[in-house]
Symmetry: C2
Amino acid sequence: MRIIVDAMGGDNAPLAPVQGALQAVKEYGVEAVLVGRGEEILKAVHDQGLAELPQGLSITHANQVVDMHDNPATAFKEKKDSSLTVGLNLLKNGEGDAFVSAGSTGALLSGATLLVKRIRGIRRAAMAPVVPTGGGGSVLIDCGATAEGTPEFLLQFAFMGSYYAERVLGRPEPKVGLLNIGAEPSKGTGLQKEAYKLLHAASEEGRINFVGNVEAREAVEGAVDVIVADGYSGNIFLKTVEGTGLFMSRQMKKMFTRNWKSKLAALLVKDGIRDFKKLLDSNEVGGTALVGISKPVIKAHGSSNGYAIKNAIRQAVEFKRSGIIEDITENVEYMRLNARSAGTDGEEG
Amino acid sequence: MRIIVDAMGGDNAPLAPVQGALQAVKEYGVEAVLVGRGEEILKAVHDQGLAELPQGLSITHANQVVDMHDNPATAFKEKKDSSLTVGLNLLKNGEGDAFVSAGSTGALLSGATLLVKRIRGIRRAAMAPVVPTGGGGSVLIDCGATAEGTPEFLLQFAFMGSYYAERVLGRPEPKVGLLNIGAEPSKGTGLQKEAYKLLHAASEEGRINFVGNVEAREAVEGAVDVIVADGYSGNIFLKTVEGTGLFMSRQMKKMFTRNWKSKLAALLVKDGIRDFKKLLDSNEVGGTALVGISKPVIKAHGSSNGYAIKNAIRQAVEFKRSGIIEDITENVEYMRLNARSAGTDGEEG
């Protein structure tokens, strides 16, 4: 398998992508193509104490870099020689099996949608991170790829999230919940009420295992494997989990640095503190899959270090191997409100 | 001041309301009217070791209890002799200054809206809890009184939340933020984009201090004094903060109960652990104000103990004294999209 890595994306580029790719090649036996400014990439390789590119690693030169000043919606075409655009084109043309980038989320999403394209019949690609919950992690879909939701988007997210939980996380018959403010089908806004009906019907047909509405509090506890949300609500949920986690970590730090007794206590539980921090460390997760795109695209966190990039590459490998894209493609007719017109409006742009 | 207390509402009624009222009468020098089944209330008073009702405490008998089987929207009129309905009527008729209940949120909201009424010109009452954030707490408005939002609702929430933060929490020129998925005015769904414009205009006129969109993560850190949200999103935010807090508390407990070393550590930081738990304890907060109702109504947590009810009574006293209802009433014209028609559609039900 061959993973295309955006060597210029993220806060720590090109060092982190180079480190991550080197480690991934060694650990997973994959090939990696680093896309970006050749000389900068080579320098980073040399800085790792390597005289030349190791077996399995190659470079595809791209001179431009998409940065935060670029318009996310159009960056991929305005900067045709960027690592983002060149990398996505490699993916599109079959010169690699997956693309990993820690660069701009918006630019990656637009580029992936318009160059690599969505799976035919999928209305919107979704960002589907695995959120740390009491159940060992839950797929949250969507968390901000599309702010505005429709019942059909949520239906598609439910299917895609279910396949992801089953295929990539290995959960049999994953429990799918609709993020809502109460358990009853009458709860929420019009969007949730309509989506509830569609998800319930899909569950009755045996296509997904919809367990009903899930309140945010239960979602955090790990009550479901898949949390279905419109992009706006999903983002609020995700960022609140992250923010509260950080807030509480700081409170815990305060608790342990108060005086000599508390510092001694910190020494006594230092393994526990390490595990606690790990729970919240985005570097552990790797990245967020862009589900619904016709080929695997993984967004790594902007602040990724080499370890995080390596994990994102592992995730790309798992995603590719899982067969989730084939699953979605084969079942897309069940995710459409008006399946008959699927042939005519599959690419609404 | 005289506070009307629903003696039959909540999981621990009538004990918790009785304990809370007893403590509040003693500590704050207020009068309290306990509404509910007289004999049960008297028994709870006796169980506290008191032979008779102490000075300042009285009972108004009401035979029925609104419970979870009642339809929240109609319970107040179907059970006319319930502690909820009798209590709200006392408030309406000026026989008390505020009403505190740990009973059904939905029934309280419907009853307060239809019996006590909203302030003229206010479209929807909002639930406005003070959420524990890095800044010492922020007012979240709304968190679920009305799931579906409109830009005008959010404008009114912004004003009311700002008055609450200033008058009740004592924050001068409170920073008002719109809960959103990015900082730019173009972020979010149509609702947030439209609301942004209204809030910005109100800020330009010097009526509120709108600092722009606030992401969930920054909101948790305490970046703003007032977090403005539609009821659906606000509820997701609140429940996620609560859920993540509980999840992390459990992780911390695990950390401290691993082995003898970790148990020793727990002893060394036991004050710190107590403060940590307090951060998340809903009993500390007291309750949630129903802002926009023409008289003070406080919803205490369903699981309130006596201490929590006492805190909710304190909050009712502060709310009444703050003059926030007068503030809203005097400025309601600035919170209307079409102020000219305020006379005709003030009570849309």
